[in-house]
């Protein structure tokens, strides 16, 4: 190798025709990729804008506090029964799914090599992909055929949708709890249950809350399983079982399909209400999760 004195050369990228063309092509592709992001954000903007534009005029005190006590083709009345049903079933479902989901996630992190852990992890993933309408059919065959439509069976179907989401998100968070903290706890003589309850879970709390809230937000927006389990109601229902229950998504679905202008306006206002509920939960969950867990 004869090493000549280095000649000052222009950068490779600027040197020749092909290099310039390559750089230009790269720039064009980057712009194309940016366009893909824009393409996805346009529908988001359109959804939010249209819901606010169409929902806000129909949103009023009567809508928030009224129910159906007259013909559906007339304007007036509101979705209070839907809001109550959504919160009632969502709350019950959260009570069922969140403790069980977090307990399962603790098992997966505390006993990662247990023969049950692998399958549970895998099938939780698989369960997140089960169509929600099928969950509704399942609860129908298992419970509705025996005890009828109602709040409780609706909540069970929502809980089944939430459970795998809670398990997987909680496990990811619990895995981040530093081993030193646990070992320090053991060194002080704490037993496993004491360590989990007083060290691991408090440390992971913000992340656990985030995962749980996202799961609730997801469940509150579900419609299909409720069609098959909660059925419907025209008034506020507080019974656990024995009569159908309503929910915001159910009312929106029914009136969106309807031919009546008044009903469609209520559906838009309902969509605004539901979106606010879901977005507030989602954004709050992100804010809580953005706090770094204590001890890291």
């Amino acid at each position: 190798m004869t090493s000549a004195a280095p000649v000052a050369r222009p950068s490779l990228r600027q040197a020749s025709g092909p290099a310039r063309r390559r750089a230009a092509f790269s720039g064009a592709m980057n712009a194309l990729l940016a366009a893909a992001v824009l393409l996805a954000l346009i529908p988001l903007g359109l959804i939010l804008a249209v819901i606010v534009a169409k929902g806000l005029p129909a949103m009023n005190w009567e809508f928030l506090t009224g129910t159906f006590n007259f013909s559906r083709r007339e304007s007036g009345g509101g979705y209070l029964h839907g809001l109550v049903g959504t919160l009632y079933m969502g709350g019950l479902a959260a009570l069922m799914a969140i403790p069980a989901g977090i307990a399962a996630a603790v098992f997966l992190t505390e006993f990662p090599r247990h023969p049950v852990s692998g399958p549970v992890r895998f099938f939780s993933d698989v369960m997140t992909g089960v169509p929600s309408v099928f969950v509704g059919l399942f609860v129908y065959t298992l419970l509705v055929r025996r005890i009828g439509f109602g709040t409780f069976v609706g909540a069970v179907s929502l809980a089944i949708i939430m459970l795998p989401i809670v398990v997987r998100s909680s496990e990811e968070i619990l895995k981040l709890v530093p081993g030193e903290l646990k070992r320090a706890s053991y060194a002080l003589g704490a037993r496993r249950w004491q360590t989990v309850l007083s060290v691991v879970i408090p440390t992971a709390a913000p992340g656990l809350v985030t995962g749980a809230m996202l799961a609730v937000a997801r469940a509150l927006g579900e419609t299909a399983p409720l069609v098959l389990t909660a059925l419907a109601a025209n008034q506020v229902v507080f019974d656990l079982q024995g009569s159908g229950q309503s929910a915001l998504p159910l009312l929106i679905f029914r009136e969106a399909r309807g031919a009546f202008e008044a009903g469609q306006q209520r559906a838009w206002a309902g969509a605004l209400e539901l979106m606010l509920l879901v977005l507030v939960l989602t954004v709050l969950a992100r804010l809580i999760g953005a706090r770094r867990p204590a001890g890291t």
Partner: protein, 327 residues
């Protein structure tokens, strides 16, 4: 983690008397098993109710026939139940959704991991994820009363006008059709696919990318010759997860697909998907009709579970990718 103490003495005696830890462990194990029990019950309970329908129709004719003519018996299966039209509708809408969503999702993933500065990428990730938080019924309402008539219908008429000689684009454009349902589905699955694809792209070893840059590759060339080939299994897995979601998506499709009863070649004609058929007719169905809908549900479940299992196995092989974002 805690090994049994080697010395047998008072400590071991204390250990034996302790019940809290084993009890704690059993409670946790029970919660974990709940996932498996629910899944097993789900399969068992629905299949049991669907078997009479499968038996009376024959599996093959149930899956491929195109006649759905419910009977009104409480105790036996008297109608004709064939799911061909609905299976076709499910596949067509999901296919449209994947064809449209995949390039966009890959573009988003590449942009967020390889092009955008971190300060820009983070808020964009949040925004794209917000798209996943929008409830399906809201997509349906928005699609039915705004997006389809205002944006998609003119686009569909333009496509049909130019390419109408192809049977799949043949006009006229009906108010409810596969195309509208497919495009709205695409919007719904973009955040799901892009979330996984993003993780996959981020998992490409930094050293390989830097090596390519050192060879003088442009940013696009790094993506094309290092990032994309490395990520192929992950992209396939993400696609299948998106497909699984599209197949099972119910309410938005139910509002947009129109409820046709025949197989139409054109994507601008109306049809029906499995999931949409279930929610559209459940509340008016006779007892045997409900059993037939359950059989439809079992078919849908089988379809999605096969795709999901395969996708999870592929994504899992990628190691670092948790797929958590999909939840």
């Amino acid at each position: 983690m805690t090994a049994a103490p080697a010395s047998v003495g008072p400590l071991a005696a204390i250990r034996r008397r302790r019940v809290a830890d084993p009890a704690f462990r059993w409670v946790l194990l029970g919660a974990s098993l709940l996932v498996l029990v629910v899944l097993a019950l789900m399969i068992g309970s629905t299949t049991l109710d669907a078997i009479p329908v499968f038996v009376s129709q024959g599996i093959w004719s149930f899956l491929t026939g195109t006649t759905w003519d419910p009977g009104f018996s409480r105790t036996e299966i008297t109608g004709t139940y064939q799911a061909g039209v609905f299976i076709y509708g499910t596949l067509v809408t999901s296919l449209i959704a994947i064809v449209v969503a995949l390039p966009v999702a890959i573009g988003i993933g590449l942009f967020l991991t390889n092009v955008a500065p971190r300060r820009l990428a983070r808020p964009l990730v949040y925004l794209v994820e917000l798209l996943a938080a929008v409830p399906s019924v809201v997509y349906g309402l928005w699609g039915l009363h705004f997006f389809a008539p205002v944006v998609l219908k003119p686009a569909a008429q333009a496509i049909s006008g130019e390419l109408g000689w192809l049977p799949i684009f043949a006009g006229p454009v009906i108010a409810f059709n596969f195309f509208f349902a497919g495009i709205v589905l695409a919007i719904m699955i973009v955040p799901i696919i892009s979330a996984i694809v993003r993780e996959v792209f981020a998992a490409v070893p930094e050293a390989e990318r830097q090596a390519a840059y050192a060879m003088g590759a442009t940013r696009w060339e790094v993506m094309r010759s290092v990032v994309l080939p490395r990520s192929r299994p992950g992209i396939i897995g993400a696609t299948m997860l998106g497909l699984g979601r599209a197949l099972g998506e119910t309410i938005a499709v139910a509002l947009l697909i129109g409820g046709g009863t025949a197989i139409n070649a054109s994507i601008f004609q109306q049809g029906e998907s499995i999931a949409a058929k279930i929610v559209n007719t459940f509340q008016e169905s006779s007892p045997e009709g409900i059993d037939a809908l359950i059989a439809l549900g079992v078919t849908l479940f089988a379809l999605t579970i096969v795709i999901n299992l395969a996708a999870r196995l592929i994504v899992r092989r990628m190691g670092d990718v948790s797929g958590e974002a999909v939840a």
